[in-house]
Symmetry: C3
Subunit: 391 residues, 3 copies
């Protein structure tokens, strides 16, 4: 049977979903331990959101095509990845006031494990001198719906691939396409993102892309650690500088905790790969990201260990830039430039570590990257790294 | 039969509605003179709005879960309550530009009999010194969709209860839940709202809640009267001051009439209950509100007796505050403070009076509350009561 | 059979559409060569858009009730009319951030052949002195959904008529209704728009209406010509003034081409009719507009011959005003005033010319209107015509 016969557009699943709860089972996908279900939610701010649940081997992922192909939740065996946001999502973009004059409307929809920020801009809201919003917090891509969503089963590699296109276009200004592919393999405790961002315009442009990868309980807890091969770490603002000595360690849920953000420059191996590990307090569970610093040269660590009710969470954020206002990033030369028609590729491996051995192995890989380089940890915000605090 | 077997989530009704026009009849609800029908509208700005029509004894209510559990229209026998807004609703929140920089987008969806304003803010748009909108006119709650909408039949009390949860949350800022219950009883010319507002955050916060209760023809007409037990009345602005001597009486439809707004401090009985009556011109029909001044201490009367085509209407507005800009109300100490996790309850009885006797009885109750207290009617706006006019 | 039996509301078609791909065929419509199909799109930013395809004789039109009765595409025989916008629509209004503080959100939904701009305002975003947006680019009407959409077949005239109502209302401010009718006849290479705009308020108001009629390939190409009977032509800004000598001729797709806009005063015949022709490079295809200058006294030509990828397009724009900011147009006396309850009618005939003879005939009609009047072509922007450039 030809591989092409194992490709289905999303609308076929939706039609099938109207009749059955498990839309595509192992037999249809021609893979044991694989299934795909689709559900279109109907209540509250989730009305109209189609949730695509993909099961492949040990891992399960809930994908949100309508939220720019974001990943709502994931699990591996009994380990849940994600967080409890005070926003009770998933939230349909029609209920997210991205256009709000203060630029903060994005917050009303933010509750994913993996939320992309971009493509024209991300970071702090950016205003002109009249106080008119130029770029809202974290841009539009997380609140734009995908089209051409396709599910592909590749039995010979034990692989499922779900891809979709998200267009972020404004006549006269920019025309960008994110072609995002989520890849899962039956024999891995992992999943993979391959994103291609294309400048569809004939004119050159600058883009920003940040992966806001967010973890709450149970991986996050008092004593959790962030571990990465470090060249430099800079606190974003005075609030972050307060606790720079414990920047990579975590408190338990803390009522009234105000967020702390650290900008990092990571070391990479000869091929350009780096790795960033988040480990649970007891060191027996964790998740690490593997990516190329050529693709995602700037890394931000977001700590918001507030009360559970207020969203106890940390964010690992590999990006093309730091999440300052776009105009500041442009001044600092951190926009990713794309020629007319040019495509940039961004790939991240999400490796899930279950058991102390797996976590130690991830730590050792990072130690190898760190070698004898001594990280420079600035005790204050640095010019060219940090603009004014966002809000 | 256990009462719990007479509880249905809304989605079951919607599924049933796809097949039958009267979704739940007297037999299903186990109550004579009761029925519930659901209709999802498809045209214009009403597309996607589910209208829940609840019939209980003499009264019928059209409820709008997608507009924050607002009440679109009501009727009691042949008496219609509501108004003809120039906005032809009900309007789905996706068509209401709440995010508009001038803060007036809320007006595009306003056409209900009972429209809640809040929860984080209500009142006049509030701007910072740069002119950036902080809080839009009347806040978000009327344009947020409910979830967990449940219909309950309680045959032993001749009661129907429809409840739903509306979340108003913004990461980093506030996390509020309105749990709203509409109660109707077969033997009453009345309906009841019980609203519980919970601060889901672990941190304290300030909320504002105003019930914008709007009446047009036939209850409103030339010679209609507003009657309440009054301690103080203050005209909001010079426009209201113009006609302060006739502040509680009504003109017929008047082309070009600019709105007049009066702020009131109402008297209450020993238990804290007060009552506010709106009586039709001939004194034989009316509606009164009964509520506790501890829950809703500030009362606003909104008069907009413009031409029929422009929305001939008056608003009775019991609230936690006056509908000035939130920052002004905060300065004046009129925010309702909630500790982390705290819940405040707000209850309003809507009593519908058919026949002169019923109206007179309501008047007498108010006279008893007024006793020999002489109301103070200010002839000019007062500091600490009135900020600048809204628009 | 009575004519009234050949009228169907849209929702009947949508119900029928769920079952059949060709909803209404020749037999149902009682006209040969006529058919109507409806499709509700489900993917990306088109989710929820109902596309109504009307076939009548040689012509086919794709109509968008949810985008203010806009016309997405048209064709006549094998001649396609429309353009390839960088925005991949049709875009549902819920994804168009009209409320954006910079006033440019409208651009995210713009990809039609015929897009109305208005009704309260159109043109450049208009700000108050604080920098708060008063009127967004091109107003709201293109992003408001129609209701009461009705399809009518008139076999005795070989005619199909599709009408719908679009309400643009804001309590306290304005209350307008567009009643739009699209007319097609089996024996014509043409289609017709009859728009009635009613001021539903009892108070007078000022409106603006501009028809943004957009053509790309194949009618637009290097050497295309715009031909109209001209009294005056004024370049909008220095950029337009650069090429005023070739203002009516067209380049091929040009990377980085910045738009050029020309304001025109057209001559009319004794009955008030004028005509504006757009002719393909080889002079054997084209489209002309016929309308009355009393109804649409101001004409704008928009040239944006950018790269194909960036939307190679020109716009012919008959209007009640020039597309400057509304406050500037008001100062210049170019608002269309409507008394309370008053209706203004706007009619445009779209004539499609296939073959050199048809194009020459259209040119000759215009030459007759021009007669011996010598057009005045200003070489610079003129006061009272041109405000600051829009963006």
């Amino acid at each position: 049977m030809a591989a092409s016969e194992l490709i289905w557009p999303l609308f076929e699943l939706l039609e099938a979903a109207a009749e059955r709860s498990e839309v595509f089972g192992a037999e249809t996908l021609q893979q044991p331990d694989c299934s795909i279900t689709c559900q279109t939610l109907s209540e509250g701010m989730s009305a109209g959101v189609t949730l695509v649940r993909v099961q492949c081997g040990n891992c399960q992922i809930s994908l949100l095509p309508v939220r720019g192909m974001g990943i709502w939740k994931a699990s591996c065996g009994d380990l849940e990845l994600g967080w409890q946001s005070p926003v009770r999502g998933p939230v349909h973009p029609m209920f997210v006031p991205i256009a709000e004059a203060n630029g903060l409307g994005w917050l009303d929809g933010f509750d994913e494990l993996v939320c992309r920020c971009g493509l024209h801009s991300n970071g702090t809201p950016d205003f002109d001198q009249r106080g008119i919003l130029l770029h809202p917090l974290h841009g539009r891509i997380a609140n734009l719906p995908a089209r051409n969503v396709v599910i592909e089963s590749v039995p010979e590699r034990g692989e499922l691939r779900i891809s979709g296109d998200v267009y972020e276009s404004r006549s006269h200004f920019h025309s960008l396409r994110l072609r995002s592919t989520l890849i899962m393999r039956c024999d891995e405790d992992a999943f993979h993102i391959v994103d291609e961002v294309t400048n569809l315009s004939a004119c050159p442009t600058g883009i920003e892309l940040l992966y806001h990868i967010n973890l709450g309980e149970p991986v996050l807890g008092e004593g959790s650690r962030f571990i990465a091969p470090l060249r430099n770490v800079v606190p974003r603002d005075p609030r972050a500088a307060e606790d720079v000595k414990t920047w990579d360690r975590y408190l338990g849920p803390t009522v009234g905790y105000a967020e702390q953000v650290y900008f990092c420059d990571l070391l990479a191996d000869a091929e350009g790969y780096t790795s960033a590990l988040f480990a649970a307090p007891d060191g027996d569970r964790g998740m690490s990201l593997r990516f190329k610093t050529q693709q995602l040269p700037y890394f931000t660590l977001w700590k918001k260990t507030a009360a559970i009710a207020d969203g106890y969470v940390t964010g690992l954020e590999p990006a093309t830039n730091f999440p300052n206002a776009r105009s500041f990033e442009e001044e600092c030369g951190r926009l990713k430039r794309l020629a007319g028609g040019e495509t940039a590729t961004f790939e991240i491996d999400f490796n899930i570590h279950r058991g102390r051995t797996a976590v130690e192995s991830a730590k050792n890989s990072i130690a190898t990257l760190q070698k004898d380089v001594r990280p420079k940890i600035a005790d204050q915000p640095q010019p060219d790294w940090c603009s004014a605090p966002p809000f």
